[in-house]
Assembly symmetry: C2
Homo-oligomer: 359 residues x 2
DNA sequence: ATGAAAGCGCTAACAA
DNA sequence: TTGTTAGCGCTTTCAT
């Protein structure tokens, strides 16, 4: 294979300089203060002046300098911290968030934080340093105290993390319930050896409020409720293809295999599929499989993965609404919004074969 | 299903105010200019003063105000315009981009632009308004003139768009070659009726330089080269699951079906799989299928999709490098970097059955 | 209703 | 090497 091709080209002209409110002001024969007021739809400008200023703005192609505005007023920027850009569930939230903000003056900017505390802190700080008007944190792993410290500085909504805070709003899906839906579904089908694949993250933070912890806990509770306490079987890897793969390699290589696997995320379930495929095991004939998140891949005919739907759309729009309330109406009382998930049964789960009795 | 649960909570304290260089300066008994210099690692500060200032910074927990810095100097922010947050190929580019920037003072912020011109323009303007130091545009659909107008204002690298510009750098994968790899592969297997699913986007821009156009053109060229000109068969929908699905419904319902389908993107190929599944056709027994992008889903055992690999990692790191060169070394000569793709053959393609002779 | 002017936190000439 | 100071583009009192 040939290496990359490289082509050089010419040129370099003097950079044009931007139009400021001063330009607009002089063009419209008004003060800069007047222009500023028009810009903000502030009180105390006659319709006539309004018109003149707007005219001048369009004629000159004026664009407000967001950073400069931010020095005194707002930056009109909403920051969204995203751990793991690859997670196919986040786009749903993000899309709905931006949609909700589309009519407003606010712009959404995404901060790619890694799955470790440091990089999440780094990008979060970066957003604060840029004086964003509000922050949406998607499943952050920082300790609550840290989040609250930031939330004291800037309006904040946390998505996908359980527990409440007085400093920020929370939008969360009831993961206890979601895990229960899956376990009940599998138990109803006659499964007993139901294993769970969980996510363990790095970092010092106590993860009791993280979705993965709550899903595992929901799994435990449901297993007990169904009298399957002795069958509780959790493998902690990560919510990723690799994580699901390695967990499944372990589970499916045992002398007594589980008859069903509940992966805490669809991506992990995909890894399980891969492992099962390699081991020559069929889903659902040899092992039932369920995921979580109901990502679009779960719906695919050849995959047809039973999953739990979280309505990311609703999460996103609510997060946007709550954040705007905090920013514009200066609300300080915090809100906890808990949405209920729904089960989406598909072909990846079915009754275990006759030979698969209890332990 | 019960509706969302809502819980209200209390509190509201006076917001603390931020530490500025003035605070740091007085604490360290130096001028603000000195602090500024330390901040920028600028020339002309004694090690002693360096130390005093850094000390004061950490003691006070000082964080520079990015917007204020931006008013005179840089914002240390790199903006990345992303059309379609759902495209699973982009995360690769983004990850490698951020990685490359990790050691530097720059921060990556992502601008979610939709698949239409307006929303892309909107988010791009927003990034310019925020005085980002550099912009990376991933497969933008704006006309080249528009891109160049922006590039005159701010250092810019365009990814995934063919054609060259004197104003910005380009990192692109050779889509003509990539399409050729697929067609050759299929033709070598004995296929003749090879159909192609393309992407047609909205917007007034002339799309001759867009990847989808080039891939379609590459397909045509390769078909001619292989003497299959009469078999050229392109269905234009979109690079999405739905697009692939509807195109495949059409193609596979014909009296004389193609023996192979080359979808311009893996996501579209996934839609084809879905359609084939619904129609009771097997891949590859009844129809061979190839995608493009080699996304992780293509590698899955149950899917095993033949695809073209683009090395997003290399694209991302090169884009970062080129952008930094433009920003820091003020390079003006533009660069075109063309990477070559590779074929990744998998089980979704095989020789057509005997009964599937030429038209 | 309108405008003059004082900052916001920082950078960069220029002086010392 | 260090400090002084004039902005950057906008918002926001406070007079007019």
């Amino acid at each position: 294979m040939s290496g990359p091709t490289l082509v050089l080209m010419s040129v370099g002209l003097p950079p044009p300089k931007r139009i400021t409110i001063a330009d607009v002001a002089s063009r419209a024969n008004v003060s800069t203060a007047a222009v500023s007021k028009v810009l903000r739809n502030a009180y105390g400008v006659s319709p006539a002046m309004q018109e003149r200023v707007r005219q001048a703005m369009t004629e000159l192609g004026y664009r407000p300098h967001a950073a400069a505005r931010g020095m005194r007023g707002q930056t009109y920027t909403i920051g969204v911290m995203i751990p793991d850009v690859r997670n196919p569930f986040f786009p749903e939230i993000i899309e709905s968030l931006s949609e909700h903000l589309d009519g407003t003056d606010y712009q959404v900017l995404l901060g790619p934080g890694g799955s470790d505390t440091e990089s999440q802190t780094r990008i979060t700080d970066a957003m604060v340093d840029r004086r964003m008007d509000g922050l949406v944190m998607i499943a952050p792993i920082a300790p609550r105290r840290e989040l609250e410290a930031i939330a004291k500085t800037v309006p904040m909504v946390v998505i996908g993390r359980h527990g409440r805070s007085t400093e920020y709003d929370t939008v969360v899906d009831d993961d206890i319930m979601g895990a229960g839906l899956i376990v009940d579904h599998l138990a109803d089908l006659g499964h007993q050896r139901i294993a769970h694949i969980g996510h363990k993250d790095r970092g010092p933070s106590w993860p009791a409020t993280m979705p993965q912890t709550v899903r595992a806990e929901g799994y435990r509770q449901a297993m007990r409720r169904r009298g399957l306490e002795a069958q509780i079987d959790i493998v902690l890897t990560s919510y990723s293809e690799e994580g699901g793969y390695s967990a499944a390699r372990e589970l499916l290589s045992r002398p007594v295999r589980p008859t069903a696997i509940f992966a805490g995320a669809d991506v992990a379930a995909i890894g399980v599929l891969e492992a099962a495929y390699e081991l020559g095991l069929r889903v659902p004939e040899d092992v039932s499989l369920a995921g979580y998140d109901n990502t679009s891949i779960a719906a695919l005919g050849p995959i047809s993965l039973t999953s739990v739907d979280q309505d990311g759309h609703l999460m996103g729009s609510n997060a946007a609404r709550l954040l705007l309330e905090r920013i514009e109406q200066k609300r300080h009382r915090s809100v906890l919004l808990s949405l209920s998930p729904t089960l989406v049964p598909r072909r990846s789960t079915r009754s275990p074969l006759a030979d698969s009795g209890g332990a």
